[in-house]
């Protein structure tokens, strides 16, 4: 592939992100537009923003790669990623919007009336955020390496630099617009090439080089346990993602938060059609990518391989642009919400503190990314979901739906989840390649129930610590807002 294509795409996306971020609101309005200005973001616009923030490297590159490697088994990933929003819609979206708390630590502090819980939640949220940024940076490294031939570190560093600059310079003031723009960019970047490839293949009537059901790698298929565990991780993990939850506050009330979630479900379903088709095309027409360990780059390489020429180059640059939109949007969303948490708990919430926190939130994962290797994007993001599901999710769900939750129970649950899930990750590493049994490689199926159980049992044991404010907070979470009185 022409190296200039990748570079050009990266620069264009970074520039567009910065421009939308800075000038999204700069349209000076006259008083006549007051009504427009004071109207909140419409749900579909907000839903695009959530989609933009949520669809990370794992969705953009990883899903197609996994389908190439393991066929229909990999469909569990898009199913889980999307269905997580159903959980969010049913159990979390509206009550959380009504809580008036802006971050998960804010929520736990208000719900349990305890500073210590806040500290512990903040630690967990920062850990989740950092772990989640690492695969994004790996995705960037992979993309830059494949498309331009530059060394891997250039890609991850470039993403961190762009994110730091825009966030520190206040470029995320209109983050909703930025993220919504990124969603449509990602969708276009993935859909157009797939459509073109399909048209070209239909046009010249080329025969598949390998039948779809044939596994190109010869890896053993995953068992039922892995599927269940993965689904548990993805379903419950979505509930606790810090950067996704923040977006719900742009909704004016609980009801529009629900509507937004419904639209997100639709948007995600549409999006995941395309990586799936890409993966299937890869299996039939480019099975050699599976052997060369470039499965995650399938989406990037497919247009060049199957179309070629100027059209191929153009489509490739579009895909690269979409990929960088994925890295930039997820990373900047995470960095903004992490730096909110870090600056409040560490630097007293000043403007300077926020900037410092933003740099801290982006640079630490960069260090992790340098120390580790790019492998199976979708899988590593799946593990982050498992960690979130074992730590934040029990506290969030029980905090919203069970009045018996106590601060001790919440802390015990979060620590249990963190130790079990983190321990499984570390142990899996120590045991070495392929030796780790399924229950260690996919810990969610047992670590999530344990975290729930510990939270409930410890809360039961410390019944006298149920905060006095529980009735007030609970009614605030669950009673629909009264209509605005000044509305004409």
């Amino acid at each position: 592939m022409n190296p200039a294509v990748g570079l050009f795409a990266f620069l264009a996306v970074s520039l567009a992100t910065a421009v939308v971020g800075f000038y999204g609101l700069r349209i000076s309005r006259t008083t006549g537009d007051f009504y427009v200005a004071s109207r909140t973001v419409p749900p579909w616009w907000n839903a695009s923003a959530i989609g933009g923030e949520y669809l990370s490297a794992a969705s953009f590159l990883g899903v197609a790669g996994l389908i190439l490697l393991s066929g229909t088994d990999a469909l569990w990933f898009p199913v889980g990623y999307t269905a997580g929003y159903l959980m969010l819609l049913l159990f979390v979206a509206a009550p959380l919007r009504r809580s008036g708390a802006y971050t998960i630590p804010d929520f736990t502090e208000a719900r349990l009336d305890s500073k210590v819980v806040r500290r512990v939640t903040s630690l967990v949220v920062v850990a989740v955020g950092w772990l989640y940024i690492v695969p994004q940076l790996h995705g960037a490294a992979l993309t830059i390496r494949i498309t331009t031939g530059l060394p891997s570190w250039v890609g991850s560093t470039a993403v961190v630099v762009v994110v730091c600059l825009t966030v520190v310079a206040g470029g995320m003031r209109s983050i909703t617009f930025v993220q919504a723009f990124q969603y449509w960019l990602k969708l276009t970047a993935l859909a157009l090439p797939v459509v073109f490839v399909l048209l070209v293949l239909a046009g010249n009537g080329s025969e598949p080089r390998a039948p779809l059901p044939i596994n190109p790698t010869g890896l053993a298929p995953a068992g039922a346990y892995q599927h269940i565990s993965l689904l548990v991780a993805l379903l419950f993990g979505t509930l606790g993602l810090p950067h996704v939850l923040v977006r719900f506050y742009t909704n004016p009330d609980g009801q529009s938060a629900r509507r937004t979630t419904l639209i997100v479900l639709g948007l995600l379903s549409v999006f995941y059609l395309f990586p799936t088709v890409s993966g299937a095309l890869g299996r039939m027409f480019a099975p050699e990518l599976a052997q060369s360990g470039q499965a995650d780059a399938l989406v990037l390489l497919l247009p060049g391989k199957l179309i070629g020429g100027v059209a191929g180059d153009l489509l490739s640059s579009l895909v690269v642009a979409g990929a960088f939109a994925a890295f930039l949007s997820t990373t900047s969303g995470l960095v903004v919400s992490l730096s909110g948490v870090i600056s409040q708990d560490l630097f007293g919430g000043s403007v300077r503190g926020f900037r410092l926190a933003a740099v801290l939130a982006a640079v630490v994962p960069l260090g992790f990314a340098f120390m580790t290797d790019t492998l199976a994007l979708a899988g590593s993001v799946g593990l982050v979901f498992a960690f979130t599901a074992s730590t934040i999710c029990p506290v969030l769900l029980l905090g919203i739906w069970w009045r018996g939750l106590t601060d001790t129970g919440a802390i015990a649950g979060m620590l249990t989840g963190a130790v079990l899930c983190g321990g499984a990750m570390v142990l899996g590493t120590l045991m070495g390649a392929g030796n780790a049994p399924a229950w260690l490689a996919q810990p969610a199926a047992w670590s999530v129930p344990s975290a729930f159980a510990v939270t409930v049992v410890v809360s039961r044991l410390t019944k006298n610590r149920v905060p006095a404010s529980v009735n007030r907070v609970m009614s605030r979470l669950h009673v629909p807002e009264r209509p605005v009185a000044t509305e004409r």
Partner: protein, 400 residues
């Protein structure tokens, strides 16, 4: 997947955590080896430390949870076997041995609660279990009343095998000390009430000038442009309806902006095109909760003191931005500006008269969010004015 980046990342995280824990524990151990003074100094420290810890727990009033935590500290302080805190109807907390006596404590405390005098009750094992466990010793209980003003609101009971005069004296002192803590709580509560009353009073200060000017402006249109006059009256009605509303001390940025819109419509009936306004609002902060009528007075100040005195058209820019955990609202005008010294004395409450609105908003912001969230005003004579307001986005206790 042993080489998975996440495994390694998690491993690194665990190692870093482990190091942090070791360092933390090490520091703690080293600190405890430091010289902490003579025995008397240490005893004083321990007593005061226990008292202040217990005091914190009693700040919520006589509640079971707080009393349970406080009774642990107080038992250590008194050095007795068991310590109980009661209110007038029930035992709130019991810490230490002989928990089986708990049901009978209220009966023993009855007289103390009625008379308000400290009593020593010897409980020689009336219950069969108590006898079996403690043999012939029984327990002596010193029960001292907690007096808030002239009322008895509860009692403290200290149980020991034998109650000497020392324990009696100490227990009465502890009871008095608890009473002092409770009075502090009441003081806190009344301070909150006072603050709320003050906020209500401040809220009610809608400018009479504005009402007068608006009505005059509307009157001038009645003959020349009846349709516009009617529209303005409706706007005026909506504006007053919002300003005089009864419920809630908080509103959202969106609603406040709507109120500003109505206000500016009315002002422009007077000033015509001399007042120009532009807005730059990040949708993320529209649902942020802010004190009721906290932005409109700032805009009114910009019109009244910035643009009214200025020749030719004036411009007001209203921005609302998302800034981490805070929402930042700025209101800028290119009017005549103010003398910073004068403004300072107005905000400090030394000078009455103009800029009442600014002082009002500043005082309320400080009361609600603390001193670091007061208005930040940048101005100089002839240079215009820039007012910045920063409020936390997360306010779970405030309902819009």
């Amino acid at each position: 997947m042993p080489d998975s980046p996440l495994f390694t990342a998690a491993a690194v995280a665990v190692i870093v955590l482990a190091i942090a824990v070791v360092v933390g524990v090490g520091l703690k151990v080293m600190r405890s080896f430091r010289d902490l003074g003579t025995d008397a100094e240490r005893a004083t420290y321990n007593t005061l430390h226990a008292a202040s810890r217990a005091g914190q727990h009693l700040r919520g009033g006589l509640q079971p949870a707080g009393a349970a935590k406080a009774s642990k500290q107080l038992r250590v302080l008194l050095g007795c076997d068991a310590l109980a805190i009661t209110d007038t109807d029930s035992v709130l907390a019991w810490d230490g041995a002989a928990e089986e006596l708990r049901p009978s404590l209220m009966r023993l405390a009855e007289e103390v609660l009625a008379t308000g005098r400290t009593a020593v009750v010897t409980h020689a094992g009336q219950g069969p279990t108590a006898k079996a466990e403690h043999g012939n010793h029984g327990f002596s209980a010193v029960i001292a009343p907690i007096r808030a003003g002239s009322r008895v609101v509860g009692s403290v009971a200290a149980l020991a095998p034998a109650a000497g005069a020392g324990l009696v004296r100490a227990t009465s002192e502890v009871a008095d000390w608890i009473a002092a803590q409770l009075e502090l709580t009441e003081l806190e509560a009344s301070r909150t009430l006072l603050m709320e009353a003050e906020v209500r009073a401040l809220r009610a200060q809608i400018s009479p000038h504005f009402i007068y000017n608006s009505l005059n402006a509307i009157a001038s249109f009645i003959n020349t442009d009846p349709a516009r006059a009617r529209e303005l009256v409706v706007e005026f009605a909506d504006f007053t309806r919002y300003s005089f509303r009864r419920h809630g001390d908080f509103t959202t940025v969106a609603e406040e902006l709507r109120c500003i819109d109505r206000y500016l419509l009315l002002e422009r009936a007077r000033f015509g095109e001399r007042v120009q306004v532009s807005l730059r609002i990040a949708p993320e902060v529209l649902s942020t909760v802010i004190p009721f009528l906290s932005l409109q007075p700032l805009v009114e100040n910009a019109v009244r003191h910035g643009l009214e005195a200025k020749e030719g058209p004036g411009h007001i820019t209203i921005c609302a931005n998302d800034s981490g955990a805070f929402a930042e609202v700025t209101i800028e005008d290119d009017g005549v500006g103010m003398d910073p010294e004068h403004l300072r004395s107005v905000l400090a409450g030394h000078t009455d008269g103009d800029h009442v609105g600014l002082r009002n908003v500043d005082a309320r912001l400080r009361q609600v969010y603390g001193d670091e969230h007061g208005l930040v005003i940048e101005t100089a004579p002839g240079e215009g004015t820039l007012i910045t307001m920063r409020v936390p986005k997360s306010q779970p206790d405030h309902d819009a």
